[in-house]
């Protein structure tokens, strides 16, 4: 009998459900997360199962309910906050980088809050519903930033994030919600925060990526299997970055390409390029390549968005250039 498969979206829902079932301190808060199940239906069914004190609908007040999540965490709760779109993280930005990020360092109070941010393009969302704003939090001391790129990680990283004692920004990719399927992980499954994965082993070049880039990189690496052996590093946590895994890979392959969906000068890209350039200088046989959209907002029209986003073709040609260097 084939094991049951679930989508990336269902893995997130399952992780919330299991975390809530295991621990009374876990609750979900956000706009329309209750009877409606959230804009993407990620929380469908949780309100019926756990009731209004565990799945809390809020007014349109991101500064308010994100701040409140930190206050509840101060009292020992473990809230999960849903923002309707990652783009709206600009609204509670202050609460996240001020209260969330600095409190433990300043005063020793742990604030275990997970903020779920549906991000990414390919859904014709345009400049306000398709962006990849994770880069704003790379470098912010006190925050952790995770970007699952697989069904397994969607479950395992969310469970680990809820159990983590720090604020964790959980960027879930809207384009992967229903596209990725995988076997439902067991309730014990955890993916450690701060550890990258070797998603595919290879010897000729390393693609460092995360989120929607993982599936793309794996597909292209497979397509190139006849010509080259490509290693794919899935960062999983983009801040703080797992430098050891990245550098060990580049030491093996001597060639690195960073792939991201965030526009060229945002995201985790420059941070990772900088890491490799500084720490793996001696092993590099070619300049580090980057595949990322240009530095503009995400465009709406299909013709534009398709050209904007990294594609198998753009990644492939960048890899070929890197290998040929």
């Amino acid at each position: 009998m084939a094991a049951e498969t679930i989508t990336y979206l269902e893995a997130i829902r399952l992780a919330m459900r299991d975390a809530m079932a295991d621990d009374d301190r876990v609750f979900l808060i956000g706009e329309d997360v209750g009877h409606f199940g959230g804009p993407f239906g990620v929380s469908t069914g949780l309100f019926d199962r756990f009731g209004a004190s565990r799945v809390i609908d809020t007014p349109i007040s991101e500064e308010g309910f994100v701040g409140a999540a930190f206050g509840a965490a101060w009292m020992g709760e473990r809230p999960i906050v849903e923002l309707q779109f990652a783009d709206f993280v600009t609204c509670p930005f202050d609460a996240i980088v001020t209260v969330g990020a600095k409190t433990h360092w300043r005063n020793g109070i742990a604030l275990p809050v997970v903020i779920r941010l549906p991000s990414g393009g390919g859904v014709r969302g345009g400049p306000f519903h398709a962006s990849s704003p994770e880069g704003w939090f790379v470098g912010v001391a006190g925050l952790k930033v995770v970007c699952p790129g697989t069904v397994d990680d969607a479950y395992g990283l969310l469970r680990a994030a809820v159990e983590d004692d720090d604020p964790v920004l959980f960027f879930e990719h809207k384009g992967l919600y229903r596209r990725l399927r995988g076997i439902a992980p067991p309730p014990s499954h955890r993916v450690p925060i701060g550890r990258a994965a070797i998603a595919r082993s290879g010897t000729d070049a390393t693609v460092v990526t995360y989120g929607s880039g993982v599936d793309l990189a794996l597909r292209v690496a497979d397509a190139l299997a006849d010509v080259a052996s490509i290693e794919v590093i899935d960062l999983r946590t983009i801040w703080p970055v797992d430098a050891d895994t990245v550098l060990a890979s580049v030491a093996r392959t001597s060639r690195a390409l960073v792939l991201q969906e965030a526009s060229r000068s945002t995201g985790a890209g420059d941070h990772v390029v900088s890491l490799i350039a500084r720490e793996a200088f001696a092993s590099l046989d070619a300049p580090i390549a980057v595949v990322a959209p240009p530095d503009t907002p995400v465009p709406y029209a299909p013709e534009l968005e398709d050209a904007y986003l990294p594609s198998a073709a753009s990644l492939r040609s960048a890899l070929e250039a890197l290998l040929a260097w």
Binding site: D32, R124, G126, F128, P302
Partner: protein, 340 residues
Amino acid sequence: MPGDPATAVVLPTTDDPSVSAERRIELFRVVLTHRVMEERIMTLYKQGRIAGSVYTGRGQEAVGAGAGLALGADDVCAPLNREMSCHIARGVEPAHIFRNYLGRATGPTRGRDGNMHFGVPERGVFPLVSMLGDLVPVVVGAALAFKRRGEARVALTFFGDGAFNCGDVHEGLNLAGVLNVPVVFVAQSNRVAYSTRTEMAMRNPNLSERIEGGYAIPCARVDGTDAIAVHVAVRNAVERARAGGGPQAIEALTVRLDGHAAHDDGRYMDRDLIAEYGTRRDPVERLAMRLVLDGVPRAEVDAVRAGVIAAVAGALAEAESAPAPDPADLANGVYASPLS
């Protein structure tokens, strides 16, 4: 038979003598154009010819129309998702709106943004920004410019009852009062925000009371399905603002008749409200009834309807023939002063 005052259940709009016969027909045309355009847009969406999301203003068309027609040519405004009629009232071409929905190169955002996320600078219309509340401070600033320069112009925006809970709205309303600038706020109290009923999101949902009490900004409460009532209230507010009376507000009571967006069937809505507002208070039919009561010949009303339907069809055909955007152009215009 629809439109027959003897048998119809629909409530006519108010009969304010200050609103001329021509203006009444204009209101009807704008409200109806909004309705018909969105019907076409929903069809296109279901056919997969419009990508992304579609938000309609069904049941609320009178608010944007009444407000938009209350502005002068030099005034400016920032309509949201539910106020396509405000664009139309400002003279934005239906074909231009369709071009935005269709993501065409010659549309207002050149395919860079979709649906109602566009402005039309030459018509004094600022582009909608998704983040709710952001446009409230923006129009306050526009009005500040008018005040500083001694220009008799007015800036206007809308916000939903859900958005009233955003910090930006609070800061913007307060700032408007403190700076005492010529700005008009139109609150769309449609009793819901996405799936959340307004009374679940605030203890006191009487926004006019709160705007007057909290920010000391005069705020009239009107039936937002009555285009003539909205128009008179906003027109008076605009004139007070223009005359130096500082910020003004109107709370328009409506009901969102569709779901939040095309993917949402709105099953959580209050059925009684929908029944009442979808029939007796249908903004289009209320105006039609008013025209009939005014003695406008039935044939003339029908001719307006036919004209709108034909104009919308023509606009859509025009928009569909517009060119698709060119990805090579994508990075142009990031900056107004590009770096050399």
